[in-house]
């Protein structure tokens, strides 16, 4: 098989150079001209061919290094094989991530919980607290902290704090601090019933039907500026938290007001709006991905292989005859 022309081409440096050039050109066109090519069939085809070429080349290099070491043990002969094994590991780790890796993004208010998939099964993720640390200017955020508890099905649990650049790890899951915001609770009640809403962003709720329908727009402003009265927060802190509402009829505002926590407003036809509470929610990324360890092991080998391969070459400036083949 090794004398086969196709096999020779598949294991050649020429093919590696062609594929690397194709991949680079696709990346350039994608980024410069905003044409989606990085996730195109052409890129996948180039990637698969490159993986085949790289794996076969790596096997060839390992065989060459073994043969060479039988004659004379030379560390520098192993630089290129180690480097290429590292590259194969990165590709393999990428496949592992693609096949069995899982990533889910959660936005959970303080005091509430969610179900997260762990190695041993489903974990309960309870958010105990979220806080923002500020710099001396009291405006610029320095760090975001989420305190939470993870509980396995058998009842075993552990407490963690995750922050930006400081993820928490438990039962194969990594929890990464990614976002935060304010969550607020309001109740709409009529003389006959009531309904509580748990909201994060601005919300529009229809109060009746038809072309001239009345609609209720509500939003939470953590730092409401009484002097301007605008629905813009002065900071991210809950310095003067208000629920702003606007009541519209045929898209014309007919009433608007800022409610403090616990306050209630009479809207129309006996409908009442109550601002019940507000609290932080945290945005956490839960990641279960055994492929990452394989990829990082690949990185280690790539770097080690590069240093071994080229440390001597920079001095001697000699390329080995074996690699030329």
């Amino acid at each position: 098989m090794k004398n086969n022309g196709i096999y020779k081409f598949l294991t050649s440096i020429r093919l590696a150079v062609i594929l690397l050039t194709v991949i680079a050109i696709l990346c350039i066109i994608d980024t410069v001209f905003h044409v989606e090519l990085i996730r195109s069939p052409l890129m996948y085809a180039a990637g698969v061919l490159f993986a085949v070429n790289l794996t076969l080349c790596t096997l060839g290099r390992v065989q060459w290094a073994i043969r060479r070491s039988k004659r004379k043990l030379e560390l520098s002969a192993w630089g290129s094989p180690i480097l290429h094994i590292g590259l194969v590991l990165v590709l393999f780790g990428g496949i592992v991530s693609y096949v069995i890796g899982r990533q889910t993004y959660y936005e959970i208010p303080v005091g509430e919980s969610a179900q997260v998939a762990g190695r041993s099964g489903t974990l309960e993720l309870l958010i105990r607290d979220f806080s923002v640390e500020y710099y001396e200017d009291n405006i610029s955020p320095k760090q975001y902290y989420t305190e939470f508890t993870l509980t396995k099905r058998d009842g075993e649990s552990a407490d963690f704090t995750a922050y930006v650049n400081g993820p928490a790890r438990y039962d194969g899951v990594t929890l990464i601090q990614q976002s935060y915001g304010w969550s607020y609770l309001v109740t709409l009640s009529t003389p006959y019933n009531s309904r509580t809403f748990d909201l994060k962003a601005e919300e529009w709720i229809p109060l009746d039907e038809g072309e001239d329908a009345m609609r209720l727009g509500i939003s939470f402003v953590p730092h409401y500026d009484e002097t301007t009265g605008r629905a813009v927060t002065a900071s991210d802190r809950a310095e003067n938290p208000r629920l702003l509402y606007v009541l519209t009829e045929a898209d014309e505002a007919v009433a608007m007001e800022a409610l403090a926590k616990g306050e209630e407003a009479e809207l129309v036809n006996g409908i009442r709006l109550t601002f019940d509470d507000y609290r932080y929610y945290t945005g956490l990324q839960a990641k279960y991905d055994p492929g990452v360890k394989v990829i990082f092991a690949g990185f280690l080998l790539i770097f080690a292989g590069l240093v071994i391969r080229y440390a001597g070459a920079m001095k001697k400036e000699q390329e080995s005859a074996g690699e030329k083949q």
Binding site: L20, T21, D30, N165, F303
Partner: protein, 272 residues
């Protein structure tokens, strides 16, 4: 208000231009006092830039490795140090001139990018930050040197292939080619380290070691270009001018990664 950092980098720019002029005159007039004068001016430019970097460090209370402005200051200083080494050890003034021209351009670009250096964002508060950015500085300085050598090789060495080089130029050609190769290898090791440290940091901060962010994509493009150079150089035919074209293309990708991506595309690496 012009800060002392800007003033120092401005004077460093002037010293850089004067040093390049002294080396340029030496190539033309061949006077014995010109190389020491060039080296002295080169040293002054480096000292002034070092003062600018030190003052910036003092002002913001951390190493200035955050915004593109800070990065340009430190990269200019690194290339100035490379020019001093080249000038003192190898006396290859033509290459030094090219590198000083690059430094001058980077410093001029930095004039328009001045920022106040606000507090560090939570995403940047990581032990990986310094190692990630420092590896970039080292890699890019080495690639700048390879670029400078490639330019001079193309101007000075006749013949398309190594076989066509006249006998009297062969020694210079071999020296320049080896210097270019060593610079690319040195830069490539640090570029690889740059990508690896960035990937590990991204996994910690964003939960994904690779996101095809424009900066990442262009770092990969740069890595591929130099990787192609290292593979093709195994053939004798690529040890001459063809290799120079790849070293030039590689540095063009470096500059685009550094400046083009930062100001055109934005993305996760946009910190000013």
């Amino acid at each position: 208000m012009v800060t002392i950092v800007e003033t120092m980098s401005y004077y460093s720019f002037l010293a850089t231009i004067l040093a390049a002029a002294a080396y340029g005159l030496q190539l033309w007039l061949k006077r014995s006092w010109l190389p020491p004068a060039g080296l002295a001016l080169n040293g002054i430019a480096a000292v002034l830039m070092a003062v600018a970097v030190a003052k910036r460090t003092q002002q913001i209370g951390r190493l200035p490795l955050n915004s593109v402005y800070e990065y340009l200051l430190v990269l200019s200083l690194a290339i100035l140090l490379v020019t001093i080494f080249l000038s003192a050890k190898f006396r290859i003034y033509a290459v030094v001139m090219v590198l000083l021209a690059i430094t001058g351009v980077l410093t001029v670009i930095s004039f328009g990018k001045t920022d106040l250096g606000g507090p560090l964002l939570p995403a940047l508060q990581s032990n990986w930050r310094v190692s990630h950015v420092m590896t970039a500085i080292i890699a890019y300085s080495a690639f700048a040197l390879a670029f400078g050598v490639a330019i001079i090789y193309l101007f000075r060495i006749p013949g398309k292939t190594p076989e066509e080089i006249p006998e009297e130029k062969k020694e210079l050609a071999t020296f320049l080619e080896k210097l270019m190769f060593n610079s690319v290898v040195f830069g490539f090791i640090f570029l690889t380290l740059l990508i690896i440290t960035g990937a590990i940091w991204a996994e910690e901060a964003w939960g994904s070691w690779w996101t095809w962010d424009p900066k990442e994509t262009w770092a990969l493009i740069t890595w591929i270009i130099y990787s192609v150079y290292l593979h093709l150089r195994l053939r004798q035919a690529w040890r001459g001018k063809k290799g120079c074209y790849l070293a030039i293309a590689g540095f063009a990708a470096v500059l685009f990664t550094l400046l083009g991506v930062s100001y055109i595309f934005g993305g996760l690496h946009s910190y000013g």
